[in-house]
């Protein structure tokens, strides 16, 4: 934003903290089967780790971590992953989003198969939420950043 004072402490702390928040976000997505958490929460935490660096260090440094052009494609990739799980069940001869027909990995059947496809869906949801939240942030800040470049 306008009139930013570059404070080295804020910059370094946010850069050190960001990967750990990202790791915790990934843990929340992966561990959503056994504890509170899942795709929505983990995706929002991943987005928060990116936004932390964006707020503290400005666009030039945070471009190195997450490019502003990546947000929307990541969101589309997440939704496609979710849709793909549903469609795969149709291709294997079942109904849309019926996980018992999601035979991508041989030897896994029944409840474990459904558990696995829930994990795939959570990853898709997490990617979509992360991408969309970061892209909304970038869009809201669009004009100021451009003025810095000029």
């Amino acid at each position: 934003m306008k009139e930013r004072d570059e404070s080295p402490i804020v910059l370094i702390v946010s850069r050190i903290l960001s990967p750990f928040i990202m790791l915790f976000g990934a843990y929340v997505i992966a561990h959503g089967h056994y504890s509170p958490g899942g795709g929505f929460q983990g995706g929002a935490m991943l987005a928060a780790s990116v936004l932390l660096v964006r707020l503290a260090a400005g666009s030039r440094i945070s471009e190195l971590q997450f490019k502003r052009a990546w947000g929307t494609p990541l969101g589309i990739a997440g939704v496609s992953l979710f849709f793909g799980v549903g469609l795969a069940a149709v291709l294997f001869g079942g109904q849309f989003l019926n996980h018992e027909f999601f035979h991508l990995i041989p030897g896994v059947t029944g409840p474990m198969l459904r558990s696995l496809s829930i994990l795939v869906i959570e990853v898709g949801v997490g990617l979509a939420v992360m991408g969309i939240l970061v892209s909304i942030y970038d869009d809201l800040l669009e004009e100021d950043e451009r003025r810095e470049d000029l």
């Binding site: 056994y34 504890s35 509170p36 899942g38 929505f40 929002a44 939420v129 969309i132 939240l133 909304i136 869009d139 809201l140």
Partner: protein
């Protein structure tokens, strides 16, 4: 007393709904109105969560100590699921609302409701 214990959360929710509704219809600043909308939405989520409660029940995560056959052991998980997605959709639509507000401000240089209506009539 049991009527009070069964209903007090609804009265707080009604208070929050009225605060949100007051901001939407009385405030002239559009950002304030959006904040009121956000409060209104959160109180509706609170209503769903509050009505899913069962006395002496545990959270909806399977624990072998509580048998699954007795459904009174677990809080109703269905409203939780519906509201989980509603929160995230709420923040995405809030982003859309702010995108519209920023565009309005660029065109008219004001976010005051009545001044906006005046400006729009002039054009």
């Amino acid at each position: 007393m049991s009527f009070f214990l069964g209903h007090y959360a609804y009265w707080f929710i009604i208070g929050l709904l009225l605060i949100g509704f007051y901001a939407i219809i009385f405030k002239r600043n559009l950002v304030k109105q959006v904040i009121g909308l956000s409060i209104f939405q959160t109180s509706i989520i609170l209503f769903w969560v509050a009505s899913a409660v069962k006395w002496n029940a545990t959270v909806p995560i399977y624990d072998p100590a509580f048998p699954l056959e007795e459904t009174a052991n677990y809080i109703n998980p269905l409203p939780h699921t519906l509201m989980l997605t509603a929160i995230v959709v709420g923040v995405a639509t809030l982003g859309v609302a702010f995108a519209l507000l920023i565009t309005i401000y660029k065109h008219y240089k004001t976010l005051d409701e009545e001044e906006l209506i005046k400006e729009m009539k002039r054009w």
